[in-house]
Assembly symmetry: C2
Homo-oligomer: 244 residues x 2
Amino acid sequence: MISKNQIKLLRALGQKKQRKALGLFLVQGEKNVLELASSTLTVKHVFATAEFIEQNQQALKDFECIEASLEDLTKASTLVSNNAAIAVVEIPTFEVPSAQGMMIALDGVQDPGNLGTIIRVADWYGIKHIVASSDCADPYNPKTISATMGSFGRVQVHQLDLAHYLETSNLPVYGAFLEGESVHKTEFAAQGILLMGSESHGIRPEAAKFVTDKITIPAFGGAESLNVAMATGIILDNMRRQHS
Amino acid sequence: MISKNQIKLLRALGQKKQRKALGLFLVQGEKNVLELASSTLTVKHVFATAEFIEQNQQALKDFECIEASLEDLTKASTLVSNNAAIAVVEIPTFEVPSAQGMMIALDGVQDPGNLGTIIRVADWYGIKHIVASSDCADPYNPKTISATMGSFGRVQVHQLDLAHYLETSNLPVYGAFLEGESVHKTEFAAQGILLMGSESHGIRPEAAKFVTDKITIPAFGGAESLNVAMATGIILDNMRRQHS
């Protein structure tokens, strides 16, 4: 059973302020909770149905599991579906990486679903680090975590002073603009930062001034733009085909 | 003002059954409504704020515009935001195209947001026709239309007996599977059908048997899969770099 205090905690973790104060976040849904078994994250509790606990004994063996009804889990969850399991997990602290390898930088991407989808596609292409301006969506927002489809455990998102980070990096910065060199023709370096702006404002001037290469996805039809997560995936594919 | 009967109509058009019976669908949000001006779709009415009508006189000049308060529009809308304008539009009838050029085929893609995102990226890459199995999401679902970001007017989605369509087509059918030839190495024909399955079931056997070329997006990290819309965009980019 989930106690009243535990329900209060789960509710509180729906809010960024509380996540920050408590140093905890929620991982919801069967697939995401099972991913925790192979991650280095510290899991405080897992609330789950008896059936889920029974079926996943091996994956859950190191966690403190608390049995709850699907009804209680649904009530406690901040998401609408996929409620057989909810984990309370410590927000990890890690050092900001020096710019190396292939990285993604995000300037003002505010939709948590987009951020989560970017984390997922980054993981697909083997990117380990995303640096994000401090006004980007919270990487620990339940909607972000949900959209990562388990990739939250393999990609680190660092919120920081983006302009400063770009200024002090020695890597080429590939900035996605609507005008720029076609990614079909760009020669990408083996190490570099892909900088993506928000859907509404693009890359802002403070970050744009550190762009070394303006790139664009060539358009063949009538659409004016692509979703930022989609554009990130397509550009990563173009980078990786040269450096696998 | 929106009359009671008109509100009833707007509400009804949130349901597939009613859209089918009345032959009408909703286009909501400023950007999508303005796209109607350059489309060949037949617009019955536009409900919009006085401000929106005033600011877009030129684009709206051929439409019957009915002024309404933002409050009424928000109440009438099936979406949560972007309610300055709602249009009631006739569902067009068009012939199923013979398989030619570059096309997309969708097998059981049931999420309207994914379908809308696929329509948007198809439009970006200049694809005009999508054929979809009859159990795919409704192309006229308000969530689909919203996710197209205006591309609904430039891409035709045909729901049909997909296996039969693929059987009778003479084009190569590129099926996206988790195993298959890397799209970085595939030589795509100038004309062909890209077949995508649903996230949960992939391409089903009835459609899979007409696949001539199994393809895959090479993975470099830990993610098990990509969202179907993301995968569609990445593969289209790979096709277009060979045939622009």
